[in-house]
Structures are given as structure tokens and as C-alpha cells.
């Protein structure tokens, strides 16, 4: 166990090192330079551009830039080229904005997809199962931005509540419940949208796991000895079908930072995805690289956690 942990940590650090190199190369070898973002701006005289290039070590060869960047990164001194603010602080602020979306979205996903998946496994081939299958394909296939506009039209015309942004602009001093409900309405649509794909995929997965377990011999035995169907389904089958899902807790971690660029820009939600999008538009390399690095770290931590959970939950696996 300990040697497994040690080995995988070393492996993940090596992977991370290569990820940092690859992302650095992708960004710096792509055509176009940060100083060309706004060539019409009269403030960007050649002298100013030259000063910028010196300031941010852009005149040095690539490997020196790489070392400078990660030296700054690990000492926490990386600053955004756009507004000279600390990148980590910026990301942290945006992260706090994205967090409620992520939490509500995850809760919706996990609480809805299990009942749906289990029920369609029990009623396999019936109308409920077939319609659930079709709807989940529909949800996987619908482009997020199109669905977002359908929901916006629906909510705005039927409930007459504003939904864009984190809160209604200029809501100012009103009663607590009012502000609370306002926040809820603004939170609801983006998190539902973030959850749709997850619900569709996860409920299909729950269904197939349940079906596999229901076909086992011990379920037949449980039925044969006359247990009530609820007990067979929820006690004998479900517990065994749950096994792979424990490990999925680790895999939802990357969703923390990935966010959704498209949904956050539709709803003007000042979260991570939108910040990354703005950074790409402004060629703010430090921000792009940091977001990339942090999300790679989260992916690696997520797979690590899911490996460990799998080890703890499934006694058949010994490394």
C-alpha cells in the first residue's frame, strides 16, 4: 500500500513536469505575441513594447523563460500581464465564485441520476426505461448554449425573474429573504445546465451497473428465498452496484476548475471558466498557464484519490 502510494506520487510528479513543459511550449510556440493583441492602441509604441518584453523576460530564450515562469509560480509571485495583479489571488477570487455552481451542480447530478438509473434498471425495457434512455441521449446531444437559451426564455417569460449574472444589478438594500431568493434564482440555471450532461451520463452508468449486478446468481438466490423485491433491489443489488461510484468521487475534482467556459460566459458569471476565456483573449500567458497547471494538478489528485478509494473499498484488489 505505502509503496503503491509512493510510486504513484513520483509518477504523478513526473507527469506534471511534462505537462508543464508541453503547456508552456504550446503557448509560446503558437504564432502571435502578447504585444500584438492591440496593435492600434497608440500607447503601444515600440519602446513600450520593448520595455514590456524586458520586464516579463520575453526577450530571453525559451528555456530561460520557462525557468523564470516556474520560479515565480512556485514562490507565488506570478502576476497577470494584464493588470499586474497576483495570479493566485485572482484565481482564488474566481474560484470562490465558481464554487457554489460546482457544489449545486454536483448535488443535482448525484441526487437525480441514482434514482433515475436504478428505476430504469428495475423496469428494464418498459416505457419508463425507454423514455429515460431517450431523454438522456437528448441531454447528452443538446448543445449547452442552445439549452441555456431555451431555459432563459422559459424562466424569464414564465417566472419574470432576472437570471443573468450572480445577482440582480443594483439590488442594493432589500430584505434578506429577497436577496436570498435572488441569489437562488441566479444560481439555479447555470448549475442545472452544468449538471445536465452529468445526469445523463451518470444515470446511464448507474443503470448498466445495476443491470449487471441484477444478473448475478446471488440476486437470483435472494429472490428464490422469498425476499421482498425492495430488499433484493436496494439491499442486495444496489450495495454491490455502488462500488465503482465510490471511485468517481475522485474524478469529479477536476470539474472544480474546468467549469464551463460557455455557460459562464452566457450567464456573465464571474467564475474560473470566464476568467480563463478572458485570459485567452488577452493572451495573458501567466493566467492561462496557471489555470492549466492547477487543473492538471487537480486531475492527478483526483485519479490518485480514486485509486486509493478503490483499494480501500474493493478487497479483491491488492497491489
Amino acid at each position: 500500500m505505502l509503496s503503491f502510494i509512493g510510486r504513484s506520487i513520483v509518477q504523478k510528479i513526473i507527469t506534471l513536469f511534462f505537462v508543464s513543459i508541453v503547456s508552456f511550449l504550446i503557448i509560446h510556440l503558437a504564432p502571435g505575441k502578447p504585444s500584438q493583441v492591440d496593435p492600434m492602441n497608440p500607447k503601444f509604441t515600440p519602446e513600450v513594447v520593448e520595455r514590456f518584453r524586458k520586464e516579463f523576460h520575453l526577450d530571453k530564450p525559451l528555456h530561460v523563460q520557462y525557468l523564470y515562469f516556474y520560479q515565480d509560480f512556485f514562490s507565488g509571485k506570478t502576476v497577470s500581464w494584464k493588470d499586474n495583479q497576483s495570479v493566485l489571488k485572482k484565481i482564488w477570487e474566481r474560484f470562490l465564485n465558481s464554487l457554489p455552481l460546482f457544489i449545486v451542480g454536483t448535488i443535482i447530478t448525484w441526487t437525480l441520476s441514482f434514482p433515475i438509473g436504478i428505476r430504469s434498471a428495475i423496469f428494464r425495457g418498459r416505457l419508463y426505461d425507454r423514455s429515460a434512455t431517450f431523454i438522456s441521449y437528448l441531454l447528452i446531444s443538446i448543445p449547452g448554449f442552445f439549452f441555456a437559451y431555451i431555459l432563459i426564455i422559459f424562466v424569464v417569460t414564465h417566472f419574470h425573474v432576472p437570471v443573468i449574472g450572480m445577482e440582480t444589478f443594483g439590488i442594493g438594500k432589500t430584505s434578506m429573504p429577497h436577496i436570498f431568493m435572488d441569489r437562488i434564482w441566479h444560481l439555479l440555471l447555470p448549475s442545472v445546465l452544468g449538471a445536465t450532461g452529468g445526469i445523463a451520463v451518470l444515470s446511464r452508468y448507474v443503470r448498466s451497473q445495476m443491470l449487471e449486478v441484477e444478473g448475478q446468481d446471488y440476486i437470483r438466490t435472494a429472490r428464490a428465498k422469498g425476499l421482498p423485491p425492495e430488499q433484493v433491489h436496494y439491499k442486495h443489488a444496489l450495495r454491490n452496484a455502488l462500488l465503482p461510484f465510490v471511485t468517481m468521487f475522485g474524478l469529479i475534482l477536476p470539474g472544480l476548475i474546468g467549469g464551463s467556459v460557455i455557460i459562464e460566459s452566457i450567464f456573465s458569471w464571474p467564475g474560473m471558466g470566464r476568467m480563463a476565456y478572458e485570459a485567452i483573449l488577452a493572451r495573458d500567458y501567466p493566467v492561462i498557464l496557471t489555470v492549466n497547471f492547477v487543473s492538471a494538478v487537480l486531475v492527478l489528485i483526483g485519479t490518485f484519490i480514486s485509486d486509493i478509494l478503490y483499494l480501500m473499498v474493493d478487497p479483491r484488489i491488492r497491489l
Binding site: 503557448i27 503558437a30 437559451y149 431555451i150 485567452i280 492549466n292
Partner: protein
């Protein structure tokens, strides 16, 4: 008497002789596939989409297209679907081909139907080319990892690659003399090792050359680590970054989507190859002395193609969605050319006045992506041998 006996013997022999299966593989596949109604609908829509994209390409391109997607009629802007054009205000060449606007017009008075036809081809090619690139890379990497996985890369290989890459990098980075020296050194080493290949095996090895020929990492490990590295990148964010940095063009989008989505195929192919490699028929072909290339592509690949086909079909759906998302964010195909994503993105400003500008492309993307997903799932069910036995 003798004659009759011989006849019965022949008949018996005929009965006992192994018969070829009554159905070919394709017939058996089609028999199972037919039973999945959703998948049939998916296939039907897919064929319909394919034909309309092809026809659309012919009708909307050329110097004088039948449906002109770029013709601007400002006096006819935001007309609803099926509206008759106001013939008094139009010049003869501006009158729409069908005599009415089948899907309305957008904010510049362009015919949405013509633009949708033009966009269908973009979605189709992006889906197929991107997935084609991904599948090719995936089969190549997965095939190598699965078939040659147990071979090891030696230390001198790594050193050589390092020397060559850094040489090329230095040449690109304007340090031409030093870089060329490194490149020459590397190439010289390759030539030297090819020339002395036979002798070096018999020679007694010194400690230095023993270090050089030490096994560093197996091919399989190397390729799977590369896959791990690629999986660390958040895919949409990576695609967005690269597409935003590169000049806007449809080919860049195809290539970038293809280069960032080959990891799944690699894993499938590798897993299939690992199990196929141990099977008797592969051992038999090896014993016959068939070349590696032929074993991989003629004997193993047809047996490993099922999961690749399924993931490719679903991959096309994902690629179409990704392209639409990129177009929506404004990084897609450059503006005068219509894609479903940018029709929707242009139309979103008029969502309450002209909802058809949002709904027509949105529903079109939904239906096409849905048909690919249903078709792919149908393929998965039909090709899965475990599920096949149940029927």
C-alpha cells in the same frame, strides 16, 4: 447396389462436413442492428444529413450559387420563416430562389436556409476529419503499445532523441552553428550504429556502453504515460487556447480537435491488442513468418475494430458539439462563412424578436448529434458479443 451405398456415404459426408455459416458477418450484424429502432432512426438521420450537406455544398458554392448564403438584403432583415419577400423592394437578382424564405432571414437579411446548408458541410467535415485524425493517431499509438509494448527503449535511444530534438530546437532558435553540430552528431551516431550493428552484439561491453544499452522504459509504459499527460489537460480549454492563438481557419480546428482526442482510441486499441496478441491465431500467423506489419493490419486490426468504430461514431458527435461551441464563442470559422454555431451566436441578440435564428441551428445541431449518438450506441450494442448472445 454399390452405387447407392456410395450415394448415401456421400450424403452423410456432406452432412458432417463443416458448413460455412449461412449468414455473412455483415448480414448477421444487420439482423441484430435492425432490432434497435432508435439506432435505425439515427442511421437514417445520419444519411439524410450526409446527403443534405453534400447537396448543400454544391448549391451554395461557386461564383453564382443557387442559394447564396452571403447575399445581404438589408430591407428584408429578420423576416420570419416561410415569409414572402417584398418583391417591390428587391432587385431581380436578390429574389430568393424558392420565392419565399424557408427558414427566415437574419439581421442582415441573409437567407437562413442557404446559410444552414452551407454550415452543414462545415459540421460534417469537422466531425469526420477531426475524428479521422484522432482514430489514425489512436490506432498507431495503441497498436505500437499493444503489439511492441514489451520491448524496451534503451538509454542511448533517449540520449539520441534528446540530442536530435535539442539540435533542432537550437537551429530553430537561431543558434544555427551549435544546433547543426548537435544534429550532425546525432545523425552520425545513427549511421555509425547501423553500420556496426552486427559486430556490437558480440563485442564484450565496457561499463559505459553497458549503461548506454540499459533498458530504460518499455514502449508500452512510454505511450501510456504520454496518454496520461494528454489526459491532464482540460480538453475544451486546451482546444480553445490553441484555436485562439492560431489564425482562424477551419483546418486548424479540425487538426486541433483531432490532436486532442486520440487518447480513448489508443486505450481501446491497446487493450484489444494485448488480449489478441496471446491468441492462437496470432501465434499461428507468426509461426508462418508473416511480417509484423501484415499481422497488425490484416489479422489483428479487423478483430479490434469494433470498439474503435463505436468510439469514433460518438467522437464525431462530440467534435460537432465542440466546433459549434467554438463558433459560438467566436473562435470558429471566420465570419463570412456560415456555420451552425455562428448562426446561433449571431442570432442570440435577437432571441426575443427572432427566435428562429436561435432555434433552427440549435435544433439542427441537436438532431444531428443525437443521431450520431444513437447510431453509435446501437453499434456498441450490436457489436458487443456478450449482449449478442441474449438475442
Amino acid at each position: 447396389m454399390m452405387n447407392i451405398e456410395e450415394k448415401t456415404f456421400n450424403q452423410d459426408f456432406q452432412f458432417q462436413a463443416p458448413l460455412a455459416p449461412k449468414q455473412t458477418r455483415l448480414q448477421a450484424f444487420w439482423f441484430l442492428f435492425k432490432q434497435n429502432r432508435l439506432a435505425i432512426v439515427g442511421l437514417f438521420i445520419f444519411i439524410l444529413f450526409f446527403c443534405s450537406a453534400l447537396i448543400g455544398l454544391f448549391l451554395t458554392s461557386g461564383p453564382e450559387p443557387i442559394f447564396d448564403p452571403a447575399l445581404i438584403r438589408l430591407q428584408e432583415k429578420l423576416r420570419p420563416p416561410l415569409a414572402k419577400p417584398n418583391l417591390d423592394s428587391l432587385r431581380p437578382e436578390e429574389v430568393p430562389t424558392l420565392d419565399f424564405y424557408l427558414m427566415g432571414t437574419d439581421d442582415l437579411g441573409r437567407d437562413v436556409f442557404a446559410r444552414m446548408l452551407q454550415g452543414a458541410w462545415v459540421s460534417l467535415t469537422v466531425g469526420f476529419v477531426a475524428v479521422g485524425i484522432a482514430v489514425l493517431i489512436g490506432i498507431f499509438m495503441g497498436g505500437i503499445a499493444g503489439y511492441f509494448g514489451q520491448y524496451h527503449i534503451k538509454v542511448d535511444h533517449i540520449l539520441l532523441t534528446f540530442i536530435l530534438v535539442s539540435g533542432a530546437g537550437l537551429v530553430a532558435g537561431k543558434l544555427i552553428h551549435f544546433g547543426a553540430l548537435l544534429l550532425l552528431l546525432g545523425l552520425g551516431h545513427i549511421l555509425y550504429s547501423i553500420l556496426t550493428k552486427k559486430r556490437s552484439r558480440e563485442k564484450a561491453v565496457s561499463s559505459w556502453s553497458a549503461f548506454l544499452s540499459k533498458n530504460a522504459v518499455s514502449v508500452d509504459t512510454l505511450i501510456m504515460r504520454i496518454v496520461d499527460i494528454m489526459l491532464c489537460f482540460p480538453s475544451f480549454f486546451l482546444i480553445l487556447t490553441v484555436v485562439a492563438l492560431l489564425p482562424a481557419s477551419i483546418y486548424n480546428i479540425m487538426i486541433v480537435i483531432g490532436l486532442t482526442s486520440w487518447m480513448g482510441t489508443t486505450r481501446f486499441v491497446r487493450a484489444e491488442f494485448l488480449s489478441l496478441r496471446e491468441q492462437d491465431f496470432v501465434a499461428a500467423v507468426k509461426a508462418l513468418g508473416v511480417s509484423n506489419f501484415r499481422i497488425i493490419f490484416r489479422h489483428m486490426m479487423p478483430n479490434a475494430v469494433a470498439p474503435v468504430l463505436v468510439s469514433a461514431t460518438i467522437g464525431i458527435a462530440t467534435a460537432i458539439l465542440t466546433e459549434a461551441g467554438l463558433s459560438f464563442l467566436g473562435f470558429g470559422v471566420p465570419p463570412p462563412h456560415a456555420t451552425w454555431g455562428n448562426i446561433l451566436s449571431d442570432g442570440k441578440r435577437f432571441i426575443f424578436d427572432a427566435p428562429w435564428l436561435t432555434f433552427i441551428p440549435g435544433v439542427a445541431i441537436l438532431i444531428v448529434v443525437l443521431s450520431f449518438n444513437l447510431f453509435g450506441e446501437g453499434l456498441r450494442d450490436t457489436l458487443n458479443p456478450r449482449l449478442r448472445e441474449r438475442h
